[in-house]
Symmetry: C2
Subunit: 203 residues, 2 copies
């Protein structure tokens, strides 16, 4: 019983997510959040808890709703397909919305006051979880034989993630989708292949 909630919690969370995406955790104030959601402060507190709890909910939603291409990618037949699919979708996501470019998961990792340390650690964990999934998929690719036995899944996963992070930074700096696509293709140009060595030795 009691009075009903007058706002849509899901929509408010979506709006808050966009604010965090653009400004990061500490850069987003409750003034920003109330303006974006159309919900007054006490209502946000009662619905989501404090700022950190709201951010963690937004981060989880971000992985569910925007980084949904990651689990899809892992199902593709070869490691190269996986990498290409992730790169393509990440670039699309990082440039889809002009008002919040880059990656929410990266935009808050780098710097902040001591009070935000726990949030930084949460973002680092989430990043590592994604990299772990990719690494395990690449280990499978070695067993499958679409990666050469000399390939190092650890290194390849870290390399792919590095390029993804770099693309996120460049997207935030205003790079066009075309430019980022070229960067992604350059990263794939180096991709190790099992079927044919790149050595130029004649038989």
């Amino acid at each position: 019983m009691g009075r009903h909630r007058e706002f849509d919690v899901e929509k408010a969370l979506d709006s808050a997510l966009c604010v965090f995406w653009r400004k990061g955790y500490e850069g987003a104030s409750y003034a920003d959040l109330t303006e974006a959601t159309g919900v007054e402060r006490p209502a946000l507190y009662s619905a989501f808890g404090n700022k950190e709890a709201l951010f963690r909910l937004a981060l989880a939603r971000y992985y569910d709703r925007y980084l949904d291409y990651l689990p899809e990618a892992l199902l593709l037949p070869t490691a190269r397909d996986v990498a290409a699919y992730i790169l393509h979708n990440a670039i699309e996501l990082n440039t889809r919305y002009p008002e919040h470019t880059g990656c929410l998961g990266i935009n808050g990792v780098l710097a902040g006051s001591d009070e935000a340390e726990s949030v930084r650690l949460a973002l680092i964990d989430a990043r590592a979880a994604g990299e772990r999934q990719i690494r395990e998929r690449f280990e499978q690719a070695k067993t499958d034989g679409d990666l050469p036995s000399t390939a190092n899944p650890d290194t390849l996963a870290a390399f792919l993630m590095a390029v993804l992070h770099g693309i996120a930074v460049q997207a935030k700096a205003g790079f066009s989708r075309e430019m980022l696509t070229a960067v992604g293709e350059q990263a794939l140009a180096n991709w190790p292949s099992a079927s044919s060595s790149v050595s130029t030795q004649s038989p």
Copy 2:
């Protein structure tokens, strides 16, 4: 005439630089800055101006004193040498100081409140200036012939910077120097070369 300054301005700027490196522009408070420098607030203001001016001075010093490997790299004989030298030194710099990992120039680019927008733009500019130098060097490499005529200096420079940014993010996330070195080597694998095509056609 008048009283002499009791603190070393250069040393104070160095200390402030480290605070910004670790916490970013907005994450660093004057409480942090006075503690790190050992200089009281009004003295910092009289010596450097306000917080934004202090940050800009620190940024310039960072490029001069820590990113000095960039101009050195540009003098190397081939584009691949340039890229390898930059990667190696960037990794070393990003992991040299455990208390402030990653790159000062990147740590503040990504997110922040609206008040910090001008600082963000300054960091984006500085990043772009570095990329431009590398691109021009790669254009020279095409003329020199150590990059094939099919190579795209724009893309190669952006790719190299993307990997550098990604490495900065990973350094901030706690990656070891060894892991980052492997990432850098992966980026250099199959670097475009003019002397021998990677095609496997026999003559």
